[in-house]
Amino acid sequence: MSYSPNEDQLLINIVEHLKLPLTNISLKSEIANLIDIKSLADNSIRLIDGFILGLNLAQNELNLEPVSVSEVLSDAAHNLTKTARIYNCNLSLRIEGKFAPVMSSKTEMESALTLIGQTVIESNLDKNKEVIINAYKSGNKIIAGVFTSDLKITNDSLRKAIISAGLVRQGLPDFSHSPVAGIYAADLLLTRLTSKLQVFHHNNLAGLAGNFIPSQQLSLI
């Protein structure tokens, strides 16, 4: 999917505008104690923010900083707690080992992982499913993403879906009933940060994750 800079800016303005009614819905539903509606509105705001971050990353220089993958995963898990509760999902955080920092961008990485988590949780899988925000070492890389036993997609189907983003309503029919826009936004972010969004298998679970290379120099500091 590519647009001209002018079209990108128009798109950003439109989606930015959508955050205003969504904020209204979020606050009104908080007053009415409609936590599921509030969560829907909050997640939609996160999706919009992730999409805008992705577009901005594509147009601007990336501001790299030392980032702790464990901290980002913790923050993403915190962001996903309410959604997991609403969808009766057992969410857990699993950090397998100690990792050196990576040179990346914390805001964008957290947004990508939160969007992946939202998509996995909201997909039409079994109730009481296990969803694990997981990081582990694989060779010299850190794999960080969201894992579940119910993920029925492959790298091939994921790439095809991403290529057809915007052309079909339901890019990953085996996985979700929704347009899985969060996956596209997360891929946009991860592609600029490190690697493409990929399907990984670990501990009999499948996950959507990115891989990050720890900085050898930072690990010495």
Binding site: K19, L20, L27, E30, I31, D42, I45, R46
Partner: protein, 130 residues
Amino acid sequence: MSRANILIVEPDIMLGTIYKDFLSKKKFNVEICNDGQKAIDIIDKKTPDLIILELQLAAHNGYEFLYELRSYTEWFSIPVIINSHTPQTKTKLDKDSVKNLGIVGYYYKPITSLEKLYNIIEDSISSTVL
């Protein structure tokens, strides 16, 4: 203890009403206005204990409002909380400006719940009183 006076500068009428209704039900006297110039007029008549400010305002924007507010010495100590649609990373406000302009907190509005805002206000007012 008397109710604290809060001025909310919020351009969106619906959001402003939500904030006003919610905070009035707590223990605050809430005044609301939708642009920076009106805010200056209101403060001139009755000095609030705390200001909650959206930076994205028409005509007299949030930055201009802040600089004008702080140019009057009698208003220099009024704490300001920014609750804005503009994330802090996208503002012109660096750490020094935040400190110099008496901003006690910066929050990204779309993810700041009413309950969180209430707690922030409580903390700000109690630390100001202390």
